[in-house]
Symmetry: C2
Subunit: 195 residues, 2 copies
DNA sequence: CGCGACGTTGATTTGCCTCAACGATTGTGG
DNA sequence: CCACAATCGTTGAGGCAAATCAACGTCGCG
């Protein structure tokens, strides 16, 4: 694995939102940690406390939880250039109730919380960057509440395909179903009906 | 209206979470704005940009939006000592798509965004206080996604009554239905069935 | 008093689930 | 490298949760 390439990919991602000088980049680079996950490996399991922010350099991840009937419910999906986490656990430093899992062999760039917070003081642009990310996460979750109340299953599927075009082909259909809140059988039925 | 009492109520609320010196309290008090709303008045309407954080001193508020069929969906309810807002609009300073409305004659203590942000620099505890509030809002919304996927309507109603015990009696049933994501008729049916 | 807002009831319909069975594909150990 | 198991998607029959529509009772308020 080529850490330099991953560094570049990551810094590139940051620079789409903020302007960084060379010394800023060095400071940031110095705290990065790389993590490799094999398909089906867990990054976070219930009981753990999220200690890092995680950027996907390569691969595909999802977060989900199990309800009282041991049914899976997918909350988030992500591929290259997306962030994944249990933000609740990361922000509150309380035990997670969720799984965060690799759906493919995946490479992450991680920023440990402690060092990231020091970095906030030295590079305020980074602090703003993450403030916006968290804000975006809030908006995304609220959006889900809204359309789970306004839309029927097919409309939600349609929305999903628009928002996650690149992800749809890479994840099994039963996971998409668990994201939409329907059974795999019913999603299959919907796809046929509208094809 | 007795502004002194409202000030005290508000400072009291803050002091349950943070320790404040006398000068801090003065600084905070100096930026507070009071707002009175009559039943059915709107604090925020679609197109507006939320400019303040709003603490309910007395009364009852809700936020909701209209879907494409002009159906109301209630997102948040609050009474004395709760915060109400369209946090999305407040944080991003973009146009709201929601209504925030008084369900009773209501008195708010407001903190204008601009002055609040200055205050963050002078009284860091306040900055932390709101960071936690926003975090809490995120958790609450995620909780809603989770139980809208795991629970049936009656379980959601039951949860609602546990979490909003004091609110249940004060708001009309059709608004609770629109919070739960069911029709008023069906909520009525559920109540009878389980009584 | 009369009107509008709210809650209830019942009949009917619909969206989605459950369960069971069956291909197709993938992956894996011998 | 094949054979077999596991994983995944599909189909269909039947059932249940919740919506829709229409009608009616009640209460508070102008």
């Amino acid at each position: 694995m080529d850490k330099n390439t991953y560094n570049k990919t990551f810094i590139n991602h940051l620079q789409q939102d903020v302007n960084l000088g060379a010394t800023d980049i060095d400071k940031i680079t110095s705290i990065l940690v790389f993590k490799e996950l094999k398909k089906k490996d867990f990054l976070i399991e219930p009981g753990a406390i999220a200690q890092t922010m995680n950027f996907i350099v390569q691969g595909c991840m999802r977060s989900f939880y199990l309800d009282e009937n041991a049914q899976e419910h997918t909350l988030q999906l992500g591929i290259e250039n997306w962030w994944v986490n249990d933000l609740y656990s990361y922000l509150s430093q309380k035990k997670s109730r969720m799984y965060v899992q690799a759906l493919e062999n995946t490479i992450l760039v991680q920023l440990p919380k402690q060092e990231l917070e020091k970095l906030y003081l030295e590079v305020p642009e980074i602090s703003n960057f993450f403030r916006k990310k968290i804000q975006g996460a809030y908006v995304a979750v609220q959006e889900r509440v809204i359309d789970s109340m306004s839309d029927n299953a097919y409309e939600r599927y349609d929305n999903f395909r628009k928002t996650y075009r690149d992800i749809e082909q890479r994840v099994p259909q039963y996971i998409i179903a668990s994201y939409l809140g329907v059974t795999p059988e019913f999603l299959s039925y919907l796809r046929k009906k509208h094809s």
